[in-house]
């Protein structure tokens, strides 16, 4: 959460002489990050990021306290000024306060006081200028004072119209809303309670406030308001967050209170508020000050040994030095037996364990002062066995080197893309809160996404893209199977894509594979290893060939290096045989048959196709002897006979 802090306002809480740029640098190095400095109305305004655990720093006062602790570490003299708000004076008349039915579980503190004769004066220029610098709307003083003091001290307060309260019975019950109960906020927007929101109710049981979040229209200040009840409460942080998130009402008040803003601060808020209403609106105090604070928040002491500091920092910091730093943060510190016993102030609920105290000492000491060095400890050697990142890189290197493009597409897909995956839409995992319609389902196939890339690049006549990414297959009650998959979609001809796949398998030293298909089918499967593990598929549709392979299957079958075969001591005889095959003859099965004919037919490759003529390059080889023409002739005859028998094809030319 970012907060804007005008420099001059900060100086009302901090005695220091410093250039804004220096303050930015030092604060950022040891405390909240000052992201920018704006020049507004002659003032420097710091834009500061305050982390969620530091509600205490989300105010002018909070940042002043941080600066007072940090700047002396950089040799800049700085002191936090004491709060000088006078106590709420005795009332000039005694109007009855509402009867408040407290609930100490839901609310830690209630403070309120009635102010009369509230002159609806315009917001004075000095206050309006500051609010404008903070990018806040300016209304009139009676309304703006509450925003102003919230920003100054970091605890919200709310101005009720006292007469509206009286009219509804002058009763406040702090309770949880029932589901369905209506309420309308002061900006006119109506809601129905979901049940469990902490609300104020009047005598009749109507909701008259959404405390610590936003006021309701039926109790808030309006144009005719003359009497105000100024109230600061401290609703349980979880309850505030619940209601604020449930209804998406993210006010400053809610964001402070859900982060445990300190109820101890509420008294200063009321004192400053009363003072400003008196000064600007001529208001008079018209009731006793009501203060219900049954369990003032105190935090337990945390003990930090000097060893703890060394364990985290690697250097020793004298405990007396650490004590001074922590005291500047308003901790109470006792040094005892090489340890610090640290009692955090009420506004620091984040200081609960020794590591929290280490952080405070370390940041004030200065992270930039710590040396930088690499670990000298043991290097772990237990690596995951089911992944092989270098194999993944090899795949990417190989495919890109031959001219194919790697792409990254989204894991979430549209309804149409999910339906095109080969799985029913209902068999996909679905997001319950998608951001856009085109990213709703967790994909089970990379192919629709990759096909979309081809469609989106119509200028490339031949384009081949690939991606390595997970697909997500739902399981009964467990996480989905998240299968790393190599997807390829290409508009190159089928033989080229298949050839690349085969070359890739060679590159990964996978020699034992088969690609099986039925004659005329548009889908083939890739089987790996002797036990023929299904590793993926090749499919063809509308001029595109798609490949989908489990990377884990490749990892399981890949070798880091080839198996060496000694150079052949006998010669290989190579010749071409051309056959005319009938139309729609599946060539793959013929070639498989030829390869299995005789061990001396060592290789059969399809080297050319011209119309129905198919030229096969045949290698004959026998590792034990050089084959003679007489030995090859019968083999050749067998080959020709096989082709004629299985396909009805005929040899082009004569057998010699």
């Amino acid at each position: 959460m970012n907060i804007l802090i005008p420099h001059t306002w900060l100086l009302e809480h901090l005695s220091v002489e410093i250039e804004p740029k220096k303050l930015q640098e030092y604060l950022s190095l040891s405390g909240p990050s000052v992201e920018r400095i704006y020049e507004r109305a002659g003032d420097n305004v710091y834009d500061i990021e305050v982390t969620t655990n530091r509600a205490d720093a989300m105010s002018i006062r909070g940042i002043a306290r941080e600066a007072a602790a940090i700047l002396p570490q950089f040799g800049v003299e700085a002191k936090l000024k004491p709060l000088a708000n006078p106590e709420v004076p005795a009332p000039s008349e005694t109007l009855p306060l509402p009867t408040i039915t407290e609930n100490d579980q839901l609310n830690k503190r209630t403070l309120c006081v009635v102010l009369s004769n509230v002159n609806r004066a315009p917001t004075p220029d000095w206050m309006a200028d500051r609010l404008t610098a903070l990018e806040m709307n300016v209304h009139d003083a009676a309304i703006d004072i509450t925003n102003y003091i919230t920003h100054e001290l970091g605890h919200p307060c709310h101005a009720f119209d006292y007469d509206k309260l009286v009219a509804s019975g002058n009763q406040i019950t702090i309770t949880e809303a029932e589901a369905g109960e209506p309420f309308t906020l002061l900006d006119g927007v109506s809601y129905q309670a979901v049940g469990g929101e902490v609300v104020f109710k009047d005598g009749a049981g109507s909701i008259i406030d959404l405390p610590s979040i936003k006021g309701t229209a039926n109790s808030s200040v309006h144009a005719g308001t003359k009497r105000i009840m100024l109230l600061a409460e401290s609703i349980d942080a979880k309850k505030v967050r619940f209601a604020s998130m449930k209804h998406a009402i993210r006010t400053t008040a809610a964001q402070l209170m859900e982060k445990n803003a300190d109820p101890t601060l509420a008294i200063d808020v009321i004192r400053l508020g009363v003072q400003l209403y008196q000064k600007i609106c001529g208001a008079t105090v018209s009731s006793e000050l009501y203060d219900h604070f049954p369990h003032p928040n105190v935090h337990e002491a945390v003990t930090l040994s000097s060893t703890d500091l060394i364990r985290y920092l690697g250097v020793a910091i004298p405990l007396e030095e650490a004590k001074v730093m922590l005291e500047r943060l308003e901790c109470v510190v006792v040094v005892s037996n090489e340890s610090l016993i640290v009692t955090p102030p009420s506004f620091r609920p984040d200081l609960a364990i020794p590591a929290d105290i280490v952080e405070e000492v370390a940041r004030l000491y200065g992270y930039h002062k710590l040396p930088s060095r690499l670990m000298e400890s043991a290097i772990p050697t237990n690596r995951p066995t089911d992944t092989n990142f270098s194999l993944e890189e090899t795949i990417k290197e190989f495919l890109s080197t031959i001219g194919w493009q790697e792409v990254y597409t989204y894991s979430m897909v549209s309804e149409a893309e999910a339906a095109a995956s080969g799985f029913a839409l209902a068999e996909h995992l679905k997001l319950s809160n998608p951001l856009t319609d085109d990213k709703v389902y967790l994909r089970r196939s990379l192919i629709p996404s990759l096909s979309a890339v081809l469609t989106a690049n119509p200028m490339r006549q031949i384009l081949s893209v690939f991606e390595l990414a997970n697909v997500y297959h739902p399981t009964q009650n467990e996480l989905p199977q998240q299968t790393l998959t190599l997807g390829i979609v290409s508009s190159a001809e089928y033989r080229v894509v298949r050839g690349v796949l085969e070359a890739l398998l060679n590159k990964l030293h996978i020699s034992d594979y088969t690609i099986e298909t039925a004659a005329g089918s548009t889908e083939a499967i890739l089987l790996l290893g002797a036990d023929k593990v299904l590793a993926g598929s090749i499919s063809y549709a509308a001029g595109k060939t798609a490949v989908h392979i489990s990377v884990r299957a490749l990892v399981a079958h890949a070798q880091s290096h080839p198996t060496y075969k000694p150079q052949a001591s006998t010669a290989t005889i190579r010749e071409d045989l051309t056959f005319t095959l009938p139309k729609k003859t599946a060539v793959g099965p013929i070639m498989s048959e030829l390869k299995q004919l005789d061990p001396r037919v060592s290789s059969v490759e399809l080297s050319a196709v011209y119309n129905e003529n198919h030229t096969f390059t045949i290698d004959y080889h026998d590792p034990t002897e050089n084959l003679t023409s007489e030995q090859i002739a019968p083999l050749r005859k067998q080959l020709v006979a096989t082709v004629e028998k299985s396909s009805g094809g005929s040899l082009v030319g004569q057998l010699t």
Binding site: S28, L29, G31, T51, T52, R241, M245, K259, R311, G314, I353, A355, V358, E359, A362, Y367, L370, P371, S372, R373, L374, M375, S377, A378, I379, P380, N382, R383, P384, F389, E393, K396, E397, L399, G403, W404, Q405, E406, V407, Y408, T409, Y410, S411, M412, L429, K430, L431, S432, N433, P434, L435, A452, N457, S464, V465, A469, N470, P474, N477, N626
Partner: protein, 339 residues
Amino acid sequence: MTGTAYIQQIQQMLLALGADAGLSVPALQQKYLGANGAFTVLAKQIAELDPNDRKAAGRPLNELKNALAAAIAAAGSAESANDWVDLSLPGKKPAVGHIHPISQAMAEITRIFTSIGFTRVRYPEVDWDWYVFESLNMPPDHPARDEWETFFVDRAPDSKKGQMVLTTHTSNGQVREMERLGEPPIRMINIARCYRRQQDVTHTQMFHQFEGLVVDTGITIQHLKGTLDYFAEQFYGPGTKSRIRPFHFQFTEPSFEVDFSCHLCNGTGCKFCKSGWHEVGGCGMVHPNVLRAGGIDPDVYTGFAFGWGVERTYTLKEGLAIDDIRLLYSGDLQFLEQF
């Protein structure tokens, strides 16, 4: 044929080769090495010799082969002396594909961290709330969760591990790595896809992070700083420095934000960096509760962790100020072919 006759044929061919010195390279190749070329035929015939003769013929045949290679090479150099070559012609480029820039960045990040003993791992991208948030000291409804705009999967929650979510960060790998190893030393680098419910020119619903986790005895903030400095210098170039500033994360204590010095202006301040530094991401000393969630005794061990966006880290490199991060996942070839 007898061995003697065969060797005679070799010698005749050697003589013929000498007489053919004026032939061009293609002519020589056709005459001697074509399918029915003189040498091709002769070489095949060696198979038909008596085994003893075959041994004797091997060496002369090899000498003939060498002579033939020399004659072809000589013819080649003679031709190039006479040929007119136009070196001003444009080149014919082979098709060159491209590894996606995010893959390139991930490979570089992997190389840098594995060279200092980190083990790269991969963990689920769809994971239980327990690993993504709760074991990281972020109970349900904690305000710190606001920073992670989380996608939920439409599935019944697990009774122990909570809702099924898309991982908003790679930090789900922290407790998973502790569980995998059982005990320190841990030096993990986890690089993965992450998802957040946001989309504009600087955010995409899907992005990538890399997460480092080191746990052992005696690990201090100094080691975190050393690791950051090492990475900065390796990834951005010599002289790049890192610095850490206070921040807050529920799963680290103390927590820091990391800046790298601008390598364009050497940290003096320029239009790319504003004040000499680039904010890269978060890190911190592993919170004792996170160590406990992973079954590691925080009184014995300490550790640090960091997790940053790959896109952010990569595009800080000189010349990579990509104005619309969504291009990375658009599949636009004009964009991708630049990398």
